[in-house]
Amino acid sequence: MGSWIRGATGCVAAVAGMVLAAQGAVAGPTLDAIKAHGKLRCGVSPSSAGFAYPDDKGRMLGLDAEVCRAVAAAALGDGDKVEFVPLTTNVRFQALQSGEVDLLSRQTTETFSRDVTLGMNFAPVVFYDGQGVMVPKSLGVKSAMDLDGAAICILPGTTTEQNIADWFRTRGMTFESVVFEQPDEWRNAFFQGRCDVLTTDRSDLASSRAVANNPADYVILPETISKEPLAPVVRHGDDQWLDIVTWTVNGLIAAEEKGITRENAAKLAAESQDPEIQRMLGTSEDLGAQLGLDKDWLLRVITTVGNYGEMFDRNLGPGTPLDLERGQNTLWTDGGLLYAPPFR
């Protein structure tokens, strides 16, 4: 509730900032601004298990939160120098545009119009998702094709809102849409039976199911309604900053490919004879300097959060409450979609 008010005022403040700020407020290299501030301001989801949610000590956990830490480790030399800013789906882009955050790592789907007209650039995808629908088992529904006339709980301002409308429209089916600003109200309305269906990205459905009183009462239907590549986002116009975020994510994926882990990274930096590992960890060439960073940047990233596979297993994989398979989010060598360009 408080965050609803904060979200609304944040949105207005962001716009006011854009109106009032004279030249120069948003220009200039982001890296310098972050160094001057001493912390990376990173926009994350207010509460999404597995992606960004605070533990009982208030420490932000999850895949998205760790991407923030990885970038902070690369840019500031310390993965804990992150100021997490919880943002609702509705205010996230304004917060990035107005400079309230420097990196948006918030389960954001990369789309044409967001990239082209919103003044933003996307780093590589960190999670390949797809929109799904979840229903109570008691409904006895086997396929999303049986949902004509159902009431569906939706979060506003998301791609899911348009996807579900398009999906029903092309099949000549109708539904009742019930839209909630806050994820808690949205989930609660579904668990109370106000809606028959909950829809969002499949990963998020899994994290919603994880917080149900009895997760076994709900089933995620087989249909995947859309492609949802979730990627970190930065402001348009600062290429250096985009490169830093892009190659931090690529580095996480390449590290898994090369078998560099949180444990063995320091040892590999000292001993490995593999030329690409040497380049990545800064023992032969200094790739970091070309990004405006020091030569140990990627070594620090990996000793802070591990490689992509480690991040996935820790936050989303089997044994976590989300219990997700790697699926498409595995290396291209294993038939997945993760493919980092070479470090050379």
């Binding site: 119009s113 409308a165 429209r169 309305a189 116009g237």
Partner: protein
């Protein structure tokens, strides 16, 4: 009136005229006004320029072209037809109408409840007046957002649609809403409704005249034998002439939802309840203070003339109290309209909710916010214009 330039002694020379222009109260006042307006315009121009520069530099699209693009999101609670293939402009219209509708009903119910509670607050019965005090204080001293979430949570405790309660045949009570049978609406029904409205409007002056005459003659006023036919006559005649279809559209339980019939969604109901109840508490206080501000001598004079307590209230006290009640009432109506934007917390598609979705899909936050600010401003100005007109009327009539 201070002397102005023309009243000053003048030499008639050019210098004298110039001095008169600079030192004259009137011209100097105009000069300052012009400077002030110029500064405001300059500031506005500067802000606008800044905003468009910043937006252009960040490669963010601007302008209102997006209003004609297809919205492609679904709005279920609506007063006018709307499909996802319709434009963002149309979606916005749906949102505006929803805001106006819920605010209007909230003010209407809030006023009815508020007047009753306000009068009962002054009841000589201590139980009744204390009860009303508790009502007012409970509703005035809790945040409206909390009240809305409370009413909504309460409505969601109803059984789901498939297990809906059926207190009467054709009536479904569930957390998907209240479903009731309704008439198959047609033009004939509309005419009967209008005839009823005309009858009610005609009955007011009629009743007034009968009462005046009765009071003048010293008889107790008894207006209903004339008023009843005046109210019911026109709709009955219209119904006989037009023969409207009286069969009912009954709601039917389908696989997921109830189809057909009339429906109140829990989101709308919770919002209406929250707004109406909280405004009724404010109105009750305005009514109470208005009544108490009428001097005690008026009550005593009416009693001396032999008027009953209820008649004293209606004929002597309330008309005078209205003058005091109307201005605070205006501000309560204005804040109720603006408070309806809390709808977004409980999923009712009002103006702000639709604007927010639009803003996020198009990324054009400034345009969307400018539009909804302009609409709220317009609604507020219309409300206060109407209330000021009413205030002037009441003030004049009671002298």
């Amino acid at each position: 009136m201070p002397s102005d330039a023309s009243a000053r002694p003048q030499g008639g020379s050019a210098g004298g005229r110039l001095a008169a222009l600079v030192y004259g109260d009137r011209s100097r006042g105009l000069l300052w006004q012009a400077v002030a307006i110029g500064l405001v315009l300059l500031l506005g121009w500067q802000l606008f320029g800044n905003a468009s520069d910043n937006l252009a530099r960040q490669n963010i699209a601007t302008g209102f072209d997006y209003l004609s693009r297809p919205a492609s999101f679904v709005i279920s609670d609506k007063l006018v037809p709307y499909e996802p293939s319709d434009s963002y402009g149309r979606a916005l219209l749906v949102g505006v109408l929803n805001t106006v509708w819920v605010s209007f009903l909230a003010c209407l119910f809030g006023t009815v409840a508020g007047v009753v509670v306000g009068i009962l607050r002054l009841s000589p019965n201590p139980l009744l007046s204390r009860l009303m005090l508790a009502y007012v204080e409970a509703l005035r001293n809790t945040p409206l957002l909390l009240q809305l979430l409370f009413w909504y949570a309460l409505l969601l405790l109803m059984p789901p649609v498939r297990e809906a309660l059926r207190p009467l045949p054709g009536v479904f009570v569930s957390n998907g809403g209240l479903f009731v049978p309704v008439l198959h609406w047609s033009a004939a029904h509309l005419w009967v409704g209008l005839a009823l409205l005309a009858g009610i409007l005609a009955a007011f002056p009629l009743a007034g005249r009968i009462e005046e005459r009765a009071l003048a003659a010293g008889r107790p006023p008894r207006s209903w034998p004339a008023v009843l036919p005046a109210v019911l006559g026109p709709p009955l005649v219209a119904a006989l002439l037009l023969q409207p279809d009286l069969s009912l559209d009954r709601p039917e339980l389908g696989t997921f939802r109830v189809s057909g019939g009339g429906r109140l969604t829990p989101e709308f109901t919770a919002l209406l309840m929250g707004l109406a109840l909280s405004s009724s508490a404010g109105i009750a206080e305005a009514v109470r203070s208005g009544i108490q501000a009428v001097s005690k001598g008026q009550w005593e004079a009416a009693e001396a003339l032999g008027l009953k307590r209820s008649l004293t209230m209606r004929l002597v006290v309330l008309p005078q109290a209205l003058r005091i009640i109307v201005p605070p009432l205006t501000s309560i109506y204005l804040s109720t309209t603006k408070n309806s934007s809390l709808a977004i917390a409980i999923g009712y598609p009002d103006l702000v909710s639709v604007s927010n979705t639009t803003m996020n899909q198009t990324g054009q936050a400034m345009e969307a916010i400018a539009i909804f600010m302009a609409i709220y401003l317009l609604l507020s100005l219309l409300t206060s214009a109407f209330m000021n007109w009413y205030n002037a009327r009441v003030a004049l009539r009671t002298r």
